[in-house]
């Protein structure tokens, strides 16, 4: 009798435990199987994205996504790293506490709020353009990166820096020969994750970016439309073909994000190996 209850309990436990992991991936399966008609895939190769006229070219959507993400991340990672260095090595205890608290709040603000702020301050100056979108992404993405970078520096570079300072290293030497060497792989890994986050940003960007492609290629002072934005805006009224195109956009976005996340993961693995005793 006990054996049967034991087995039933084991089955229940396993099923319950698997709900979450399976649901994590079932969404991916949905995206891939979502395309109802194979011939629609051909439409994805067309140049323009204009669902009203039956054009579903994804190329410039991808360009917009990557473009805005890079324009946001490059200054973001730069300023974030400098800020992390300040927090870790130069800030006094009180200054660090304040900085971390404010950055913590910033890191958890909803996308809508970041979008609203960009709308209030930057869009009047920059217009509904890709650059506005990049600003919104910058606001969402830089605070979390700064906090991660600071944590990385604290755990990996703080002690070597103290030792090196006692030997007489100057600030620039410390940065070049100790901090960057010790933390490089971790910071790049965090950077990859940040870029992935930037690519997936939907709400904030779509509030300020114009959501239509007038000029091709969409440069910084043109209205733009990202993959995520297209999905978010188009989902409500999408008919079958349009919906397939949105699923395809989702698959591509997923692939980009996953590649970055895996790169970050494997970088982390390798840097961990180097430091095992």
């Amino acid at each position: 009798m006990n054996n049967i209850t034991g087995t039933i309990w084991a089955v229940v436990k396993t099923t319950a435990g698997l709900i979450l992991p399976v649901s994590s991936v079932i969404l991916f399966i949905v995206l891939v199987t979502g395309v109802s008609d194979a011939q629609h895939i051909g439409l994805l190769a067309s140049e323009y994205w204009n669902p009203a006229r039956g054009e579903y070219g994804l190329v410039w959507l991808m360009f917009s996504s990557v473009h805005i993400a890079l324009v946001a991340c490059i200054p973001g990672l730069f300023i974030g790293t400098l800020s992390a260095i300040h927090l870790c090595f130069y800030a006094g205890a009180r200054s660090r506490a304040i900085g971390q608290s404010i950055l913590g709040i910033l890191a958890s603000i909803p996308s809508v709020v970041a979008g609203l702020f960009t709308l209030a301050v930057f869009t009047p100056l920059l217009g509904f353009t890709a650059l506005s979108g990049a600003v919104a992404v910058f606001l969402m993405v830089t605070p979390p990166y700064t906090l991660i970078a600071q944590s990385v520096l604290h755990s990996v570079a703080l002690q070597p820096v103290l030792s090196a300072r006692m030997l007489g290293y100057t600030d620039i030497q410390l940065l070049r020969y100790v901090v960057l060497r010790a933390a490089a792989k971790h910071l790049v890994s965090a950077g990859c994750l940040t870029l992935a986050r930037a690519l997936g940003e939907a709400t904030a960007v779509s509030m300020v970016v114009g959501n239509t492609l007038f000029n091709i290629p969409p440069l910084l002072d043109d209205s733009a439309l990202t993959l995520a934005g297209a999905i978010l805006r188009g989902h409500k009224e999408a008919l079958q073909t349009h919906m397939d195109a949105l699923y395809a956009a989702g698959v591509i976005l997923m692939l980009m994000v996953m590649t970055l996340a895996l790169t970050a993961h494997f970088l982390f693995r390798r840097s961990n190996k180097g430091e095992r005793r």
């Binding site: 006692m166 030997l167 290293y169 060497r181 180097g274």
Partner: protein, 256 residues
């Protein structure tokens, strides 16, 4: 660059407080010329704190207030700029951190960066020192994290010594070393004392006895550590009129 003259370290009625406690109570010590001094005493009584004070390496986390002063060559320690200070005083922590990533990054690169030694000479000096300290079975390309605790400690000492500071402060340099390595290190340091001043924090009595001067630091009945003995090893450890020090040196448990 290091000076051929060894700066005098003058600790002048130096007291150190935290908001809640007195750590060092009016310490007065003078170190002149070359030689080796051991600062001994029970754990947690302030030896490390004193060493950190002299090397101007007190951490920022605690709110320290200090009275009295520490002078190097008749100038207050706080008035020296960072470069001049570090080129004169070398400090090796109790649990030193390794610089990333290899052994060479730890003992060759600092020489080239700080003393502007050319790479070939730096390599040569590094190899010689590794041999002297018993580390020669590792190559310069070994990753520093792979070394054992004792080897890392010796590497950190080599790192500081190769920069030729006239004053060298070592915080518990033998704590992770086996007896042979300890003996090798002490012998090396004795050679070093012919041209520099070595200050060694330790609670290893044998090592302390190899020094020509021993300073005993401990907390008495009142708060804060004071110097209870200062002289040759015999004067400090073998004097029956100083029961605490006498028993400490003979590893006799104290009865209160």
């Amino acid at each position: 660059m290091n000076s051929t003259n060894i700066p005098t370290i003058d600790i002048n009625k130096y007291s150190l407080h935290t908001p809640t406690a007195l750590i060092l109570n009016s310490i007065s010590l003078k170190f002149e010329g070359h030689g080796m001094v051991a600062i001994v005493g029970p754990s947690g009584h302030g030896k490390s704190t004193l060493a950190h004070s002299v090397a101007r390496m007190l951490n920022d986390y605690t709110k320290w207030t200090a009275t009295g002063d520490i002078l190097m060559s008749d100038r207050s320690l706080s008035q020296w700029d960072e470069r001049s200070l570090r080129s004169r005083i070398g400090f090796v922590m109790q649990q030193p951190a390794m610089l990333p990533h290899t052994v060479a990054d730890n003992i060759v690169t600092p020489q080239t960066l700080i003393n502007n030694t050319d790479v070939a000479t730096a390599h040569r000096c590094a190899s010689v020192l590794m041999y002297a300290l018993g580390l020669s079975h590792h190559t310069l390309a070994t990753r520093a994290h792979k070394l054992s605790g004792g080897e890392q400690q010796r590497l950190a000492i080599a790192r500081a010594v190769l920069l030729s500071p006239p004053v060298l402060i070592l915080d518990e340099p033998t704590s992770a070393l086996d007896p042979l390595a300890t003996a090798t290190l002490i012998q090396y340091l004795k050679d070093l004392t012919k041209r520099s001043r070595v200050i060694m924090i330790t609670h290893d009595i044998e090592s302390a006895r190899s020094c020509e001067r021993v300073v005993f630091l401990r907390c008495g009945e009142s708060q804060g550590a004071t110097i209870t003995a200062d002289g040759s090893p015999e004067e400090v450890f073998d004097d029956p009129s100083k029961p605490f020090e006498f028993q400490f040196a003979r590893r006799l448990p104290m009865h209160h």
